[in-house]
């Protein structure tokens, strides 16, 4: 029984090797599917629903790119990756892009030979403590036991933070977020530290969220964004500008609901360029004129995606904070479509 499968695999391998010479965009279009790497499950960012349909904030980026390139937001093959397999999956070409809450760092960008195409979520490492501990600042955590996921940058950030503030802590190493929740609730540690978005999601799942507080200190910068391989700049441009299109759409007030109306009635030249009724931006990317329009219609603009998956009306309830538009005091600042 293995033989026949092996055979099939060799055939596929042969076909795939034949196509590999072309650019990623051509590969994707020839395949008719975008292979997008996501997490194996992170609340709000990527998770399969009961029917196996992936949903989430990172997933929406994949769907936007698929809509822009292939015209169909459903034409995505989601490849679940773990923290350990994500980079090899991207480097080996198993996936075309990775949208997996991955922090943009120097070494990943330069040494691992990837290209971060922007930031879709500005995160940072925070602390959660039970209210009854009576702590109001992370600097008062001297001698605390801290639940921390091993093998992540959070571990290093934590060590740095405590060392610079000259206080001591006792780490309780844990493997997964679920384990951390259990340990924290069982009182095995005083503090749980991970990305602030993860803390918010964890706290929301507690029976009495108000009994736990997030401390004000954010001790690291975690700009999370989609990434592609070095060396295929055309493909990198497509992913980068799809994300920018979603951000710009929010800035310009174009939503998935009003996009048809705006496209026909607007006089704003930037909206016209964005939606392809003026200029040749799509052509420059090697796509058709309506690429950005489709990407926005896939799941809405950045604000709609945020509100639907992780915003204040969801159980996770994240405020926009750093992820507000620059016009609202946030960091989202897309270069102009011109």
């Amino acid at each position: 029984m293995k033989k026949s499968v092996l055979l099939g695999a060799f055939t596929v391998a042969g076909l795939a090797a034949g196509m590999a010479a072309a650019g990623t965009k051509d590969d994707v279009q020839a395949r008719g599917k975008l292979n997008c790497g996501v997490t194996t499950g992170l609340v709000g960012f990527a998770a399969p629903d009961a029917n196996g349909e992936w949903e989430g904030f990172d997933v929406a980026v994949c769907r936007g790119v698929a809509a822009a390139v292939l015209g169909d937001p459903k034409a995505v093959e989601f490849v679940p990756t773990t923290g350990k397999t994500r980079f090899t999956a991207l480097a080996s070409g198993e996936i075309d892009m990775l949208a997996r809450n991955t922090t943009w760092t120097f070494s990943r960008d330069v040494d691992l030979k990837f290209e971060f195409t922007g930031v879709n979520y500005y995160d940072g490492q925070g602390f959660m403590v039970p209210k009854e501990l009576g702590v109001s600042s992370a600097k008062e955590l001297d001698g605390a036991t801290v639940c921390i996921q091993t093998g992540t940058t959070t571990e290093l950030n934590l060590a740095d933070f405590f060392r610079t503030n000259n206080i001591s802590y006792e780490p309780v190493p844990i493997e997964t977020n679920a384990e951390a929740q259990q340990q924290y609730l069982a009182g095995a540690c005083d503090v749980y530290t991970t990305d602030a978005s993860g803390l918010a999601a964890t706290r929301a799942s507690f029976e009495d969220p108000s009994a736990h507080v997030l401390l004000p200190e954010i001790i690291s910068k975690e700009p999370l964004g989609p990434l592609v391989r070095h060396g295929d700049n055309e493909w990198g441009d497509i992913v980068r500008w799809t994300l920018n299109a979603l951000i710009t759409a929010e800035e310009l007030g174009v939503t998935s609901a009003n996009i048809g109306e705006v496209a026909s009635s607007t006089n704003n030249p930037e909206i016209k360029r964005l939606l392809g009724s003026e200029g040749t931006l799509g052509e420059m990317l090697g796509l058709d004129a309506e690429w950005a329009k489709r990407a926005i219609m896939a799941g809405g603009n950045y604000g709609e995606i945020f509100a639907k998956n992780i915003g204040e009306d969801t159980p996770i309830g994240l405020a926009r904070g750093l992820n507000a538009q620059w016009t609202n005091g946030g960091l989202l600042y897309s270069p102009p479509f011109r």
Partner: protein
Amino acid sequence: MSDISFVRTEMLPEQEPPASTVGAIGWARENLFSNWFNSLLTVISIYFIYMVLKGALPWMLSPTWNGTSLAHCREILTEAGRVTDHGVSGACWGVINERWQQLLFGFYPNGSEPGTTDLRWRPVLAFLLMGVALAPVLFADKVPSKLLYFSAAYPFIFPWLLWGGTIWGPLSAALGFVIGYFVYRFVSSAFSGLIGIILGVVCAVVWWLVLSSLFVGAMNSILPIGIEAVESRKFGGFMLSITIGVVAIACSLPLGIVLALGRQSDLMIVKFLCVGFIEFIRGVPLITLLFVASTLLNIFMPPGTNFDIILRVLIMVTLFAAAYMAEVIRGGLAALPKGQYEGADSLGLNYWQAQRLIIMPQALKISIPGIVSTFIGVFKDTVLVSIIGLLDPLGLSNAIRADANWNGIVWEIYGFIGLLFFIFCFSMSRYSMYLERKLQTGHR
């Protein structure tokens, strides 16, 4: 006078045994309260069981089967008055109600997407047919031996049902075996057995690697028969575990026998190859092999190559299981008295005849408990694939918790997964005990 007798002539009617030695009381007296120490242990055990059940049962018997989220479950429990000082107590079974199909079938097409149909009957059928195919092997005395033909065909039906696609693929794979066999028959009668084996294998491999894809393509364009293809990525949940487990178990036993024999062989190269393979695989953790399968192979192979991830995992798990199997069987071989080997020799049997008729039946019988333990171990080891991003039941448990509705649920999902694993492993273990009893020949 002659009617005075000292021997009773009529039988007394049988009397009921004393009430304290039969029925529930007798059983309890004999098994639970035979002396004061056992009585004490019984009382302590009953108290312990009571405490466990007292904690677990109310939690398990929780009216939350229709809960739609963890918060909703908590509402239901609060309404039902299940509030303690630690908050509400009770399981949230809604998650199992919503996700049990996903835990069983993973992402196998379920017809929810427009334009697709529910294909989950295929894995179900494949596993039901597996029962049929295994019957003549497992219960040889209870089913007609003609079923063995179906068992022989099953390895080709199984992947076809799971992965789908054209029917010519498995047919052409089977044809490879037929070609190899006829080449062997023809050449070995014309020249010698060894050349026959070599040529047969070479012809089969050439067929599989070169000609068969042409054959499949040609036949498919003439007569396109097939079922909808399903990609490996859609596999998940217990279906994935069982697929990996079954393939690894089925392939590792013959491979293990060959390795065990090779290890005892007098041919030096064969022996060193087998020893090297076994010791290498046993010296490396399975998770390392899986990482090699998932990441390293990608780097070694030409860019753009897409070597099916599940196939890679299948190969690695099979090799891993085979190495352990080889050592278990070697234990069985070592336990056979030397006289058995000498007896086989004295009958004039050649090596393969001796192995087939004398050695292996006995060695395998001795090894049954070890073999089944290895099977169970392999089956449970399949959950390690969650670490390389395949969504087996454990991987799915994480993915399910990533749904904002179910974030924070732990015991219910793990309990369900544990229960299903227990059912599989326990049945394997019971079967092995049945087999041992059946093959019991009264000497050791």
